[in-house]
Amino acid sequence: MLELRNVSKIMGNETHVSDVTLALEHGSLNVLLGPTLSGKTTLMRIMAGLERPTHGQVVFDGKDVTGVSPQKRNVAMVHQQFINYPAMSVYENIASPLRLARLDKATIDTRVRKAAELMKLTPMLDRLPLNLSGGQQQRTALARAIVKDAAVVLLDEPLANLDYKLREELRAELPRIFAEAGSIFVYATTEPSEALLLGGNTVALSEGRITQFGRTIEVFRRPDDLKTAQTFADPPLNTLAVEKRDTRFLLDGGVAIPVPDEARSAPDGTYTIGFQPHHLSLSPANPDAVGVEAKVTITEITGSESFVHLAYGGFPWVMLAHGIHHFDVGATITVFIDPRHLLVFDSDGRAVRRTPLAA
């Protein structure tokens, strides 16, 4: 188990990571999800031992490893850039961590070939990394990280610099590779969809703080606070400030949205409601749907779907509509909010839901 205990990292007068406490289990896949500058890379570098936390401890299997150098940590890391040793062949690149561990030749050979097979690199073993395509270079880096059987494998946005097709391909392969190894995988990404595809656990980060840690699907469906919900939404989460009166949220123009069951018991007052772009539609999705009038600002058509950007009061919204729709800019259209999928946050940004009785 890899534990971070109250870890902070302050450089100059900038706080990169602030009071992070986290426990990652063996054999788990953990996605660090957050926008750029949210502290993902710093957190990984602390886990790798490349950086020493300003405060707090890093504990591995009960042993404090805070000041231990990366060489002695049994970790592996893959960067966003394709980092290989240009002077060595692909084979030597993959073999290098094993050679440093002083394994015998036969073991090294079988393990390198197995990792190469897994990453579909077998035909390129004799070539130099710089003569390979970007995807192959990154696969070499991944193979080098996996061949080592490290206890902790850190992947810092490994697919971000790859083109679309390769990214899809590798993303599909990664969970299978992770499942085969028993290591603690930590995978940083800015893309919510990547986190959902990979599954496992998600650590939602915002401005150097953990906003939520839990199973990916749980974090996505039931975010603890507005920050997490915003981090975990692409296109961005639609939000709206509303007044709660008993069982209804009152909007301007006399429109009322029924309050979801789990927020019914909350006191009356000002709340922020959030909903995903696909919970906004042109026709009512169910009898409870509430129609509101919003102004079209832009329409983006991506093949079979349309992203309609709207303005409702001062709030920018995005609606994901199936099919191709053309709206004039500035036109007022009626859109329907599905109240069954509302996320309700109080004025502090905390999610409002009935706390389970048996905690």
Binding site: R45, L50, P70, Q71, V75, A76, M77, Q81, P97, L100
Partner: protein, 306 residues
């Protein structure tokens, strides 16, 4: 019969093509004129580079020319080619110890200096490229200011310092003195090349389990090998052509070739032919070294920042 109609048909087609080609003839003419003018321009484009090369190479050609002439011919008249080609001048240099020892001395201290400069500059450049420390930028710039003072400034302090350590007239004295100019230069060049290597390579290597020395030798040095080549070349060149300090610090045993060349007046007057031959031989090492780093020289002149 059949073939005839075919022929006439073909002719018709041909005529129609030529007619259609004639239609936009005004534009075509203008285009053709433009192309012709460009062709004329291209016909004289060799002129400037040729003149440039001729002017550059003329003194060197003249030196080579003289080195194969006898003194009588050099002083007697003007000839583009040696009338009585002779190897005597070269023979003198290769047989007279006072001449060839000059080359040996020069090569010894130049190689010593290049080795010391690059060896010292490698860790320094790594520190400048990878770590941030108090005053790092000032120190880095200050290094280069060492090159801004003329060597004559340092001749006197060096003379007294080295003589008090009993180093006068030794190869190591000249090699160390030249470090004053060459170490900063090598640091600047190597820092440029090293900064072109992403820091993540270092970190990946540490995570993979490489210790620092092992990483530096096995991974890092191969990555900047061209930079090392360029830095070594520049050190070699500056040390090879530097005369003032080398002459000040040596008397007989470590006397460099450039110094020997300035004292060639003998009883029979100036030996022009031998002097020319010595000049030719002095150019050769530099030309040899430049050949090996020819692809990286531009990057080297930009201090590795291309």
């Amino acid at each position: 019969m059949n073939s005839q109609t075919n022929l006439s048909g073909a002719r018709v087609v041909h005529r129609s093509v030529s007619a259609s080609a004639r239609a936009p003839s005004a534009q075509n003419d203008a285009l053709a004129r433009k192309m012709r003018r460009r062709g004329q321009k291209a016909r004289f484009s060799w002129l400037v580079p040729t003149l440039y090369i001729v002017f550059l190479l003329l003194p060197i050609y003249w030196l080579v020319n003289m080195s194969f002439k006898t003194n009588a011919e050099i002083l007697g008249g003007f000839s583009l080619f040696p009338q009585n080609p002779t190897l005597r001048n070269y023979m003198v240099i290769f047989t007279d110890p006072s001449w060839y020892s000059g080359y040996i001395n020069s090569i010894i201290y130049v190689v010593l200096n290049t080795t010391i400069s690059v060896a010292v500059a490698l860790p320094a450049a790594y520190a400048f490229s990878r770590y941030r420390f108090l005053g790092d930028k000032h120190l880095f710039f200050w290094l280069l200011t060492n090159r801004m003072a003329p060597p004559a400034v340092f001749a006197l302090p060096f003379l007294q310092l080295y003589s008090s350590f009993g180093l006068i007239d030794t190869h190591i004295a000249v090699a160390l003195a030249h470090c004053l100019f060459n170490v900063p230069l090598a640091v600047w060049i190597l820092e440029g090349f090293m900064s072109g290597v992403p820091k993540e390579i270092d970190e990946t290597a540490y995570v993979d389990g490489y210790s620092f020395p092992r990483f530096f030798i096995k991974i890092f040095i191969p990555l900047i090998s061209s930079g090392i080549g360029v830095a070594a070349f520049f050190c070699f060149m500056f040390s090879w052509v530097e005369l003032l300090i080398a002459r000040t610090l040596t008397t007989t045993d470590a006397r460099p070739i450039a110094s020997v060349m300035t004292r060639t007046v003998s009883a029979s007057g100036l030996d022009w032919g031998v002097l020319a031959a010595a000049g030719v031989l002095t150019i050769i090492p530099g030309a040899l070294v430049i050949y090996f780093v020819r692809n990286y020289i531009a990057k080297g002149f930009a201090l590795g920042r291309v």
